[in-house]
Subunit: 138 residues, 3 copies
């Protein structure tokens, strides 16, 4: 068994999802692990790593609408408001989703389901550069 | 260290939880790993893997009621509606929970807490066959 | 590659977060793994492991307020009520967050982001002693 690890930055265009699947598939190919796990970790508390349906962009649109209703921007009950109306809501959205997901590697390939893609979900309104670490073991 | 991996299908009876604990405990016994981790991965975006209280079935009932109120079926604001009223709500329920969970293996056994069970939570109304991969490393 | 595993108990003071970061950083130092993953697992269904912003205590305050509004204590629709008004809400809060998180280990150190801390989030009102297992592989 061996461990392969790689860190990269992702520049996004603000609130919404950026697909990482191709990048991670390529790292799994490079790692040369036959059977194991690939962990995707995001080093931030205002954005998430999610496995989302990868076929209809309306799913991302509806998830975004849902989250905006659930974790209200600029809610008057928030105390953590120094960085703007989307700051505390971004932390809530992150805690309700995930920033670390492990996916099987099977026969040297990332074993995602047919409709699964891996996305960085930025929760802040303005664009951010985010750091992701991929760890493959097997 | 070694990696043991096994994939199986679970037929469920539609929306609700199916316990996987015994199946996973048996795979851990078969793997023969003394100390490590057991990852449970679900290859779908409309069902979840959850660790739920394993003693009182009312907990599952209340979780289901809660989710039906939170992620409304057939919400008029959804754009992703082609597959029916329970399609987009199922994606939301999946993103709010998990489809990959790692559990310690200690002294060759799955080290769940006394009240923890592992469940596949189907979010679609009709029955589905779902694919699960177990990866044990240690 | 090797596996290092350690289990400890955390006594908390009831509903709210207890930081575990220093304890886990110390275990990573002890494990002597150069590159790999560190999994944090909580053996309970009424408390969570979360990665939370580590700088402003108001973030924890607002997360707690948010969860109290989302998963209402003593909701009249709950059937699982034998253990009190905060019992079913605690199970809901756990399923909406996580009790297993894997974090990269890079150059022998836990590779958390600058603003990330690891917390045990107790969801029950009274104090509890909770069991945590750390598994480090690399």
């Amino acid at each position: 068994m061996k461990t392969f690890q790689s860190t990269f930055q992702v520049m996004n265009s603000g609130r919404g999802m950026t697909e990482l699947t191709d990048k991670i598939v390529a790292l799994v190919a490079k790692a040369g692990v036959a059977t194991g796990l690939c962990n995707v970790f995001l080093h931030h508390t205002s954005a998430s790593i999610v496995i989302c349906e990868n076929s209809d962009p309306d799913v991302q649109y509806d998830l975004e609408t849902f989250m905006q209703r659930l974790a209200i921007d600029g809610d008057s009950r928030y105390k953590h408001i120094a960085e703007g109306a989307d700051d505390m809501s971004a932390h809530i959205r992150t805690v309700l989703t995930q920033n670390s997901i492990s996916i099987p590697v099977t026969e040297t390939k990332l074993a995602l389901g047919t409709w699964q893609g891996i996305y960085l979900w930025e929760h802040r309104v303005r664009p951010y550069e985010r750091k992701v670490t991929i760890t493959i073991q097997g």
